[in-house]
Symmetry: C2
Subunit: 351 residues, 2 copies
Amino acid sequence: MNKAAKSNDSNAKTGRKRATSYDVAELAGVSQSAVSRVFQDGASASTAMRDRVMAAAAKLGYRPNAIARGLITQRSDMVAVVISKLTNLYYPEVLVQLTQRFSERGVRVLLFALERESDTGNVIEQMLQYRVDGILTAAIFTPAQLSTIINAHIPVVFYNRTLKDQLVSSVRCDQQEGERWLVDELVNAGHKSFGIVEGPADSVVSIERKVGALDELAEMGIDDVTTVSGDYGYETGRQCFAELVEKHGSPPDAVIAANDVMAIGCIDEAREAFGLQVPDDISIVGFDGVGPARYAAYDVTTVRQPVERMTESAAAMLLERIENPDLSPEKRSFSGIPIRGGSARLLPEDA
Amino acid sequence: MNKAAKSNDSNAKTGRKRATSYDVAELAGVSQSAVSRVFQDGASASTAMRDRVMAAAAKLGYRPNAIARGLITQRSDMVAVVISKLTNLYYPEVLVQLTQRFSERGVRVLLFALERESDTGNVIEQMLQYRVDGILTAAIFTPAQLSTIINAHIPVVFYNRTLKDQLVSSVRCDQQEGERWLVDELVNAGHKSFGIVEGPADSVVSIERKVGALDELAEMGIDDVTTVSGDYGYETGRQCFAELVEKHGSPPDAVIAANDVMAIGCIDEAREAFGLQVPDDISIVGFDGVGPARYAAYDVTTVRQPVERMTESAAAMLLERIENPDLSPEKRSFSGIPIRGGSARLLPEDA
């Protein structure tokens, strides 16, 4: 054990009590409210005052108690972030970026990580008990859960999902617009039969993507459409491709997978199990713009979510509503970024 | 807005105050301490008592204040989890599994997400202000930071890193053992010249892997070793391979990358830029056992970290030390799981 640890251990042994802001004020020869100001983010205090207080605080080992402060100010300076296992798996940057955005503003993240998006069971109760100042959720809530939050006057922002008939704030990527782009490009390039690989049944994002693709295919007059379901993972991508071929009787002209990882699974199965050339024999597209979609062996045609802008907006919207609870709800929708990879036969961009 | 929201809004407008445990006790006709017991995890209360209290609480919209309770019990029931951007990017399951393990035990996670592992600057101060009961960190602390934590009597468990000369608890994968296995297999199969692709300079894990590989190569009498540095990403994997070939004058017999994603970058660069066959012309191995390492186009020979057992152990060790602060520090080291993929020419397993 090093020197600092030893000296403090002896303090602990002599039963010395934890220093209070009063002790610091006395030693620094300033008022207790001056000590509070120095330790409060954004409060004014002269440099001289700050130096004096900090020196006294260091000498006494004083540390403000954020929990006690929260009881007085009615602000915990904590927000709840709710994320499902799958969202963090495919978009690990979302959680890190959100946490960093909040941290820059002096706000801590109390994390709720769900096994499945539908596992929101007792999460709301926990958040409320911890008196979080706001909630940012990448999982959907039931109407009853949302009522509980609204009744508790806690601002909430939905990330990549929204409740259409409810007055809630949300930030999302326009999944349906992205799917329409993919369908238009494929149909315009002459693809006539389609396979759709959807994601987990309780994934709101997967449902939006499927509906977007199916609606646009119908509008474009395509009726040769076969649908199968996976779980967003690579292995089900492979299984889904085999299932599609069996259901359709032959490989379709194009496969639209609900995410890039299943698209990669489809590409490997098409090549290895069916000896197909991608994109010469079949076009396979995904959604998300994750790292592996850019690996040379796959080069997936996809739609990338503008994650950085989405997380920035979501954090800013929530913090605004914590500051000003009367702000009316707002829904922001970002277009995805089309990526024309080598996994699909498309017309040249200016065609 | 739905019905529940409306009814509560009108409560808010009439200025009705938040119900206290005293109000609940009065309505239920029980003592205030009975109400506390019902709402306390693990405290005893009869079913009849519980039903009566819960009915009164529901009627009044009462909710215990975890923050206020923490001030009284000196337990916040929160632990700090510190993770770097890169750890979450390549091991997104770590954070989700840790959070779920703590949640099952009624403990919340206060998340600190660092841009780089070395960005621990003001993190310690924040944790202490929030009176976390324990700290689980996948970033390294300086000796001064560690002293501060020890002085505050807060148990800490290091995840995948440890401080050799300090009495701290840690759970880790034996990176060096894994690298020794990879080196032995490659040398035994006849590889004589090696390229090493290391990770970011401030990654403790990358340093351990590099040292493990270099030590074992030296012990096996291999002196044709060229080293280059990447950032764990796919693009630097590609660049590093080109750099290796330039430094070495020709492609080495084998490349050992500090993680799977850089190994995948090396494979693509070897194939596309140098026209090499993997593994016929060159063997390329990684470390981690991430999803893309199993994609058919790469099938990376690697060492998988037993993440589930590691996160379970780490959470259990921290919770034990919160319950019993006098438990002596403990270091647990898990062997990685060797995966013989198609990206390396190895002797048959029983050779």
